[in-house]
């Protein structure tokens, strides 16, 4: 890849640089309470990236991104739950999830092997390394299987949205129904902290913010590099015209499966970070509303721009949190977000990123450097 610094490229690099700088310098101005909040918004930003990758770049509107988020969240929550000391304080010999102890038969052996049917599944999660490996492995494997089935069968468009939507609702129901192992509706609370090399990642300390921040920056940059590779270009060609890409000799499904899987993995990692910052995991992560919200964030930020979708997610959630301080406004906000969404779809299909790009290109042209703004705009699907 030859590095050609066009006006457009320079502007993009500047945008990425500014964003990363702001994120990394935030701890100098904000206190730990706000940093913890902001860490969650960064997680939402990662979800925005995941959606932009599958929707903007692959043309696949996944309405079940929450499935991977939820899987990642549950994997890390299970291992952190066993770090919690509550059960040991209540007289168990080995850590067991408190809800299992409460629900167990009187006189049942208080051990993960047999306290509840299926509780043995928790045994390997006593190792934190195993939990973290599962965060990477489970969403990836599930996303690969789903992607493989969908794209090999050449299912496209709306049908993918409906399948993914049905899947996330299905898994949500299974988690709710599997009460003895997952604690059903209540989800997993009272979690311990992630420990790494003797350091405990208390959600309310600066290093935890940096953990999430570096994670977000890494995901953002790696994904940006990934879509600029040859494979990324083939993917975009497929989005624009799948048959043409097929006739050109590309095994289209292979690219689609790969990027669908990457998008799932990103959502899974986001889920894990969210649990570290918020100390709970619950089936609400797999609610339809949450999955659609991610799409809203990406649409407002700009579905064709990874950075735009990321910023869109952070922006909307920051505004939402500010507005939610008053109960009346919080309710009105939901109506406003609905309205904003309709307006964005109608008048700003490329989102904030598209708007910013146009304005920046105009300015650059006015200042008389680089190419004029008259260039083909990215096609919006």
């Amino acid at each position: 890849m030859k590095l050609r610094l066009t006006t457009r490229g320079a502007l993009e690099a500047a945008a990425y640089g500014t964003f990363i700088l702001v994120i990394l310098l935030l701890p100098t101005v904000a206190d730990v309470f706000w940093l913890n909040r902001f860490a969650k918004y960064l997680v939402y930003g990662m979800l925005g990236i995941a959606v932009a990758l599958s929707w903007g770049y692959a043309g696949v509107l996944n309405l079940g991104q929450g499935l991977f988020f939820g899987l990642g969240a549950y994997m890390v929550a299970m291992t952190l739950k066993l770090q919690s000391e509550t059960s040991m304080q209540q007289g168990a010999d080995t850590p067991i999830p408190d809800f299992m102890a409460w629900n167990s038969q009187p006189g049942a052996l208080k051990d993960l092997c047999c306290i509840a049917p299926g509780s043995w599944l928790w045994i390997p999660f006593q190792s934190q390394a195993f939990g973290i490996a599962m965060v990477l492995l489970v969403p990836t494997a599930v996303a690969f299987l789903i992607g493989w089935s969908i794209f090999r069968l050449r299912i496209s468009g709306v049908f993918i949205s409906i399948i993914t939507l049905a899947l996330v609702l299905l898994v949500r129901l299974l988690i709710v129904d599997w009460q003895p192992v997952t604690n059903g509706f209540n989800g997993l609370t009272d979690l311990g902290w992630l420990t790494f090399g003797g350091f405990e990642f208390d959600p309310y300390v600066v290093p935890t913010y940096y953990l999430v921040a570096f994670g977000t920056v890494a995901v953002l940059l790696l994904t940006r590099l990934l879509v600029a590779t040859r494979a990324g270009l083939v993917l975009q060609a497929t989005r624009d015209d799948a048959n043409r890409a097929r006739y050109l000799g590309y095994d289209v499904a292979r690219y689609q499966v790969f990027f669908f899987t990457v998008s799932g993995l990103i959502a899974g990692i986001a889920g894990a970070f969210y649990v570290i910052a918020s100390e709970f995991a619950s089936p609400t992560f797999l609610d339809l509303t949450f999955s659609v919200s991610m799409v809203v964030w990406a649409a407002v930020g700009g579905r064709n721009s990874l950075l735009g979708a990321c910023i869109g997610a952070i922006l909307i959630n920051t505004i939402q949190a500010t507005v939610s301080e008053s109960e009346m406004l919080a309710e009105a906000w939901k109506a406003i977000i609905g309205l904003i969404f309709v307006l964005v779809v109608l008048f700003l299909p490329r989102g904030i990123a598209g708007l910013a790009r146009d304005i920046a290109m105009r300015l650059a042209a006015l200042l008389g450097r680089g190419t004029p703004a008259a260039q083909p705009l990215q096609k919006s699907e």
């Binding site: 069968l153 299912i155 049905a166 609702l169 299905l170 009105a332 109506a335 977000i337 969404f341 309709v342």
Partner: protein
């Protein structure tokens, strides 16, 4: 068992009304109307409000709700959908925004609570429409108990399904709609005013949702979020039945409604929904065009 099948059938009926509207709209315009459940919700609220302010009973509320929701649907088509015909996937998102807006507007009572005005019958409170006394008794034939309201739901649905069939296959408008379903450009070339027919189609589909809402109001709590799950279920029916196939939609509504009823009888509600979802995923994987599709593309 017969009781379960009967209740399943009445639930399937409401599902069918929701799905019929979705199917016609999706079939002829390609629009995925995520606000369809909210239209049903508005129908239910029309029943509540007309009961309070106009002293109409549930039966009289049905035509009124049809008109109101058809009007709302017509407005949605005019203001939003019309501008998105070239970007079909975006209609899904825009209508989702509309759904949020409608839901929240009802919850905020059109924003009136913002200014301290309270409209009785609207808002988050748990409304229930009182049924006419006629529907509250139950008839017995041998061992079999017939609940009149459940039968009424089934009858209304059959009537509307037949009416829809007649509209689509026996009227000029129906021929135009079916022509647009097959090929909009060709239909336009033959002199059909696609835009006008489309807004009528959207209004009619919305009206059906409104009727479903009124029927739901008879046995379910009326609340701003009652429509949210409805659209998902409706879509499952449309997809399983095959887009644009009336018979398929009816059969799919029956099958999914009954499976839901039977599985919840032998295990629980949660698993019943899970089974239905799994089935739907299976059908899409196996036959993306639906089980009963006549149309080969």
């Amino acid at each position: 068992m017969a009781d379960t099948l009967f209740i399943g059938l009445s639930l399937a009926s409401i599902l069918l009304l929701v799905a019929l509207g979705l199917s016609i709209i999706f079939g002829s315009m390609g629009v995925i109307n995520m606000a369809h459940g909210e239209l049903a919700m508005i129908g239910a609220y029309t029943a509540v409000l007309s009961g309070i302010y106009l002293h109409l009973n549930l039966i009289a509320a049905i035509p009124l709700a049809f008109l109101v929701t058809a009007g709302v649907g017509w407005l949605i088509e005019r203001l939003v959908i019309r501008h998105l015909y070239k970007r079909i996937m975006d209609t899904l998102l825009a209508t989702w925004g509309i759904a949020l807006l409608l839901q929240q507007a009802i919850r905020l009572q059109f924003g009136a609570t913002f200014f301290g005005v309270n409209i009785p019958g609207l808002g988050t409170g748990l409304q229930n429409v009182s049924l006419p006394a006629f529907f509250q008794q139950s008839w017995k034939i041998g061992d079999f108990v017939i609940q009149p309201y459940r039968s009424f739901i089934i009858l209304v649905t059959i009537a509307l399904a037949v009416a829809t069939w007649a509209l689509l296959y026996k009227t000029r408008w129906g021929i135009q709609v079916r022509a647009i379903m097959r090929n909009p450009e060709m239909a336009a070339a033959c002199g059909i005013d696609v835009r006008k027919v489309s807004s009528m189609t959207f209004a009619y589909g919305s009206g059906l949702a409104g009727v479903a809402g009124v029927l739901l109001a008879g046995f379910k709590t009326v609340s701003p979020e009652m429509g949210a799950t409805l659209v998902v279920d409706g879509f499952m029916v449309v997809v399983v039945g095959g887009v644009g196939s009336l018979v398929g939609t009816a059969a799919a509504a029956g099958i999914l409604g009954e499976i839901n009823g039977i599985v919840s009888l032998v295990s629980n509600d949660i698993l019943a929904r899970a089974v239905v979802l799994a089935l739907v995923i299976g059908v899409i994987m196996w036959k993306p065009t639906g089980l009963f599709n006549f149309k080969g593309r």
